[in-house]
């Protein structure tokens, strides 16, 4: 199937809406990959407090959106005090993965501003509304 120029045919899902987290692992929303062949997950840091994260950023997956297991090899670096305004990326061939994915982000005991978004692409059926694309509104310029 042809990939539309760029991200025009993608669906977006906030896994972590911009939030300040502190000391405990953030609870990520689930990314439901059904109907898409490829996923990109982007973790963004804002101001990271003066403590490293307790664990590497990583992903988990599930068949039922209930019981999640770590995705082997998904550890992708441990943000630290100097890791402000950066992005960590995962690219996933969804055909090899379970239907649902979540992010695991476990900050140290200081406030950290973070966000995470999932981008689903190569849709079996192209999203044709803002709702299906996972956004509130879209403008094409």
């Amino acid at each position: 199937m042809m990939n539309l120029g760029a991200t025009q045919g993608c669906k977006f899902k906030l896994l972590l809406a911009p939030i300040s987290i502190n000391g405990t692992a953030a609870t990520s929303l689930s990314l439901d990959c059904q109907g898409f062949k490829y996923a990109t997950i982007l973790f963004m840091s804002g101001l990271i407090g003066a403590a490293n994260f307790d664990a590497a950023l990583s992903l988990t997956e599930s068949d039922d959106d209930s019981s999640y297991a770590a995705i082997s090899g998904s550890g992708n670096g441990t943000p630290g005090d100097s890791s402000d305004a950066l992005i960590w990326a995962w690219h996933l061939d969804c055909r090899k993965r379970k239907r649902y994915m979540q992010l695991v982000a476990d900050p140290g005991a200081v406030a950290c501003l973070v966000a995470c978004v999932g981008i689903l692409s190569m849709a079996e059926e192209m999203p044709n509304s803002v709702t299906e694309a996972g956004v509130t509104a879209a403008l094409f310029l």
């Binding site: 990939n3 120029g5 760029a6 991200t7 025009q8 993608c10 977006f12 906030l14 809406a17 911009p18 939030i19 300040s20 062949k37 490829y38 996923a39 990109t40 982007l42 963004m44 840091s45 804002g46 101001l47 992903l59 995705i71 090899g73 998904s74 992708n76 670096g77 890791s83 402000d84 305004a85 950066l86 992005i87 960590w88 990326a89 995962w90 690219h91 996933l92 061939d93 090899k96 993965r97 501003l113 973070v114 966000a115 978004v117 981008i119 692409s121 190569m122 803002v130 694309a133 996972g134 956004v135 509130t136 509104a137 879209a138 403008l139 094409f140 310029l141």
Partner: protein, 142 residues
């Protein structure tokens, strides 16, 4: 040719996750040189008890120059109940100036509104070769 998914897209932080209150957030500039298409995502976290005053894009030929509003880029202002949502712009960069910024101006609430914004640059002239070329600290292909 564009790779499957967004494997060859560059991502650029316009607003790192931040709390802002009653003043337009200071957007970083996104340099679109070498790419033909951009998708800009504005994401809200907890929005304080005042509606936004503006949400739009602006452009300029130079990074530090005077930015001009992009006609038609103003989204309906996010309101206080719109937490955890995404606003999107898709841009054909052949019609645009080289540098883009977002204008996000939350209203005057009692606390900060949490927000973030990033740009995804795609359809490159030359495929990015490294994590740095792709605008990320690290990336994994699984």
């Amino acid at each position: 040719m564009s790779f499957a998914g967004n494997q060859d897209s560059k991502v650029v932080v316009l607003l790192a996750p931040i709390g802002i209150d009653d003043a337009a957030a200071t957007s970083l500039a996104c340099d679109c040189l070498g790419f033909h298409y951009a998708t800009v995502l504005f994401m809200t976290g907890l929005t304080d008890d005042a509606d936004y005053d503006a949400l739009s894009l602006e452009e300029c030929d130079t990074s530090g120059g005077t930015y001009a509003a992009i006609t038609g880029s103003a989204h309906t202002d996010p309101i206080t109940t719109q937490d955890g949502l995404v606003w999107r712009w898709d841009l054909d960069l052949r019609k645009r100036k080289r540098f883009l910024k977002v204008v996000a101006d939350p209203g005057d609430g009692t606390a900060d509104s949490l927000a973030a914004c990033l740009a995804i640059l795609s359809v490159p002239d030359i495929e990015p070769q490294s994590a740095a070329d792709l605008g990320v600290v690290a990336r994994l292909i699984l």
